[in-house]
């Protein structure tokens, strides 16, 4: 085996290893390494009481009601399942119905989730407020428009 052939073989081997490793990682990240669970992923059976998890989804429309100055009740849904959430604290100003949100906390019992903090998730659309008004007047605007 001449020296040059050995060297090329080593380079080729390293590239094969790196490529397969990258594919392995890409394939697995696609799967389920989620930073948070969606409501449908949490089926009722295996809820572990007061284990700290994060749930992400949309705030269900007209499910938001204010109990006192700093405690709220709303539902997080992803159009398949929805979870009742109680929260005490200051809501970020981006938080409103129909808006994506990630909440962190634990299940108090079977179907009430007590959130310790709430992150409002901002999608990637930027649109001036003025256009929103025009859209509303012309009736294009519909509640689900994120």
């Amino acid at each position: 085996m001449s020296l040059r052939f050995q060297r090329l073989l080593l380079i080729f081997l390293t590239l094969v290893i790196i490529l397969s490793a990258v594919l392995l990682i890409l394939y697995n990240t696609r799967e389920n390494v989620s930073y948070f669970y969606t409501p449908s992923e949490i089926d009722k059976s295996d809820i572990i009481i007061n284990k700290i998890i994060r749930i992400g989804g949309f705030v269900e429309n007209n499910s938001f009601n204010k109990i006192s100055s700093s405690s709220f009740k709303f539902k997080i849904t992803d159009e398949k399942a929805s979870i009742l959430v109680t929260f005490k604290g200051i809501l970020p100003d981006l938080f409103r119905e129909g808006q994506g949100a990630v909440i962190e906390g634990a299940f108090v019992d079977k179907n009430i989730f007590n959130a310790t903090n709430v992150f409002a998730k901002h999608d990637e659309n930027y649109m001036p407020a003025s256009i929103k008004e025009d859209l509303k007047d012309t009736g294009y605007w519909n509640k689900e428009y994120k």
Partner: protein, 223 residues
């Protein structure tokens, strides 16, 4: 056949070097246990909190203790010329890097692997978590050895600021820690996380001979 003997006798030399200085390995383990005790005393003895963050403590301290022995990688052999003699004996620099990484894995990481059960008892980590900790560390430790080899070969000629080596290892080990802790805390399908950890191990193991080899050649050239 001759080449195989040379490799075996290379490890014999490493064994003699490490085992004669037995107190090196012991000091690493003692450092590991003493820092666990310090964590326990600083956090307070109640079982609930400790078992919650126990896994994090164990992993972070394993990382710190494995950066302790960076100097033993190439620095001593480089200073007394043995690195050149081993190279002249027929090993290319990349191959020396691989052998050194494996010998570091054997003589430093395996003792840590064996000391994990005791650490888990002290921190009363539950049994299944202990099993996941063992699997994640067995892969993570080889990755840490490869990172250690890369960072210590970079710092051969760096006499002024040697701490840089451990900073390099710590920075590149952040994804390893994220995924290993992920494996331990997420109970259900964690085999995708194990695959990711294995992927990282493969990448670092493939990069190691080239990066370390080049740095060793460079340092010998400009010694």
């Amino acid at each position: 056949m001759k080449f195989l003997n040379k490799i075996i006798f290379f490890f014999y030399r490493e064994y003699k070097l490490n085992l004669s200085g037995f107190q090196d390995i012991l000091t690493n383990i003692i450092f590991f246990f003493v820092s666990i005790l310090i964590f326990i005393f600083s956090i307070g003895p109640d079982e609930e909190v400790i078992s919650l963050i126990g896994v994090g403590i164990v992993w972070a301290l394993l990382l710190l203790s494995s950066t302790l022995s960076l100097k033993k990688f190439y620095q001593d052999d480089f200073e007394n010329g043995n690195l050149l003699i081993i190279h002249l004996n027929g090993f290319s620099f990349g191959f020396i890097a691989i052998l050194k990484t494996i010998s570091h894995f054997l003589f430093v990481q395996i003792p840590f692997l064996l000391s994990i059960p005791i650490a888990c008892i002290i921190l009363n980590i539950s049994d299944d978590k202990f099993f996941y900790l063992l699997t994640s560390f067995s892969m993570g430790s080889l990755t840490l050895s490869c990172l250690g080899s890369i960072s210590s070969s970079m710092n051969l000629m760096n006499h002024r600021n040697y701490l840089l080596g451990s900073v390099i290892v710590m920075i590149f080990s952040v994804p390893i820690i994220i995924f290993s802790i992920g494996i331990i805390n997420i109970e259900q399908n964690f085999n995708s996380l194990i695959n990711i950890l294995f992927g990282i191990l493969l990448i670092v193991f493939a990069i190691n001979p080239w990066a370390s080899g080049l740095c060793l050649k460079l340092s010998l050239e400009n010694n």
